[in-house]
Symmetry: C2
Amino acid sequence: MSTRGNLLYAQSGGVTAVINASAGAVIEAARRQRRRIGTVFAARNGILGALREELYDLGGEDLAQIRALAHTPGGVFGSCRWKLPALEADRAPYERLIEVFRAHDIRWFLYNGGGDSADTALKLSQIGAELGYPLTCVAVPKTIDNDLPVTDCSPGFGSAAKYTAVSVLEASLDVASMAETSTKVFVYEAMGRHAGWLAASAGLAARKPGDAPHVILMPEVAFDETRFLARVEATVEKIGWCTVVVSEGVRDGEGRFLAESSTRDAFGHAQLGGAAPKLAALITDRLGYKHHWAVSDYLQRSARHVASATDLAQAQAVGRAAVDYALAGRNAVMPAIKRVSASPYRWEIVPAPLEQIANREKMMPASFISKDGFGITAAARRYLAPLIEGEAASKWRDGLPLVAQLKLKRARRKLPAWKG
Amino acid sequence: MSTRGNLLYAQSGGVTAVINASAGAVIEAARRQRRRIGTVFAARNGILGALREELYDLGGEDLAQIRALAHTPGGVFGSCRWKLPALEADRAPYERLIEVFRAHDIRWFLYNGGGDSADTALKLSQIGAELGYPLTCVAVPKTIDNDLPVTDCSPGFGSAAKYTAVSVLEASLDVASMAETSTKVFVYEAMGRHAGWLAASAGLAARKPGDAPHVILMPEVAFDETRFLARVEATVEKIGWCTVVVSEGVRDGEGRFLAESSTRDAFGHAQLGGAAPKLAALITDRLGYKHHWAVSDYLQRSARHVASATDLAQAQAVGRAAVDYALAGRNAVMPAIKRVSASPYRWEIVPAPLEQIANREKMMPASFISKDGFGITAAARRYLAPLIEGEAASKWRDGLPLVAQLKLKRARRKLPAWKG
């Protein structure tokens, strides 16, 4: 006899161009299981909404709007950068969550996020078992940082990578045409605190040797000012201009970020931003070249208009698989993307245990970084190229992207307010 | 009896997503006039290439590649930021240009640029007449700044405006989903040193009152820190987050650029330029809100992948009209866009005398700026909305924009080197 009950979906951490596509896939797949799933809920602002019993009842949402989530960037239910305390330090929030789940007969919890969210899903699955509440927790992968282990790539990354490569290609044509009398060096800053996946993906813009970007700075390689300036100067002397891509997480030999502010986010991570203006100023100061720089920031992770069709398909596939796994009672797993074939590129979804995912970061392999530390290798290109394949167009109205309009009806509260 | 001879095309100033589309239209239209036009030349790096006798002979270019210019950003022949000296101060460069034109039998000169380029075309038409060399000069309009007079809008602006509105719309969905526990204020910086056209176009992202962007800062309105902070705070208190769009040219009441201030940010770091990071630091310092900021810089003017179909059509139309005007002997004119009907939007190309265009800047009408100075009016929306209409897709290969590959064969020199 199969479990019957309700399903809760929530979004966590930095959003992506396709996290709502995963949400739409989850909701649509769950709706097809009417004999087992009563109500599909979404938590407002991630796990915080679950703690606060702020739940959206999605029963009344139009199917057309649920499908429109596939072309809606941002996180439609709200996300959060808020990590549950360690289970050993404070059991109260975990017990509260189980209480909320019990009050709303939530038997399946799908948490769409990165490594921290996988950890939350794992702990909830454990505490559910301890408290004798039958709960199946599935993590749905998402991160533009591409740093989730086990899975071949993370939904959200391919679209951000495509935005990065397209933007660097386009802006480099601009610089090339201005270089004779104006800008000689263009510096583009990509997100990526610990791993250089997005900066590396800019390398796809170079179709043949010598094409831009000419220098890619990744956090995996300590910044060496002298070598960097020599490379920029040599490039400008050879072709007249130079495009530099820098990851926000690049550090010098002493481990200091090129661009560190004193603020930290809710997970205790340093808030970065500003490596590009620093490098640009350095270049003009030392080499005398006129510069321009761009920091695309949130644009790179919300640019649904230039999403990768591959990434979109994967974001939807992990959403559908998460519902399948949940209903099959596969507790504490995450649908992972497995690369079945490199050329032609083929992939499938397989379950991965959360123990292998929670709180682990996948770094870029050393074999992806060129010997000089300023570029990517053929192996990196083989890995990255299929992830940006295909154009998943936005829907447009009046020249602007059309996005989902949900009713977001709140579910009636059944418990006292959470005093967390 | 009609003139026979050769035609020279050149690109000037900051490039746009569609200046090459104008180039392609010029070249294709000129090729259809085989009985009158012998060779179509392009100057390398704008007027500098003409002075240096660095000309590309476009006769051998494949038509498919000329047509591919319609989806190729940047300036394929190279541009320049270099203004000829005043005619009264130094006639030598003007005489040299006529000498180059005479050597290559160039009877038509089409200069694709903004106000400075219109001035150059005007002066060349005058000196040609003075020196008894029959030359017809036509300016082809182009600028993302939209500051050319007479013409209803400038090719290149519509696509940059669309990039701006799309990016602000997408990133604002991101901020909205993060605001509960993370970023509350997002600041986007648009180009525009003297006029706020691009910052204003971000206002199109707001489909109903209260939608992002919530604050638009334009150079036409002196920056008032107290009022600005009060508006940001009120917005965050009301809806939980706030999107700010700032033009790079915004100044305070004493005329000082925000971006050029020597003050330090909230964390004691020297500001390295950029109105957005400066405002973002101010917001965190005074209001305590976590911020993110983006400076899209060259991305906004090279993002051909999200070009406006209206803009593309106009860029091609002015290119074709320029050839028509040139062959008709209409000297010292520019094809201007005339808005024939606002709704439905209809436009046509009309000739405008360069005297009315050279060295003049069109500012935004005061009626386009809302009374509080933080937004745009319904009149501004009516003007701007049609300019971003329609999506002119890139051509794609391997997930990346496909761009024209020209042979760029240099024409044989006939004169001694220019010692300018």
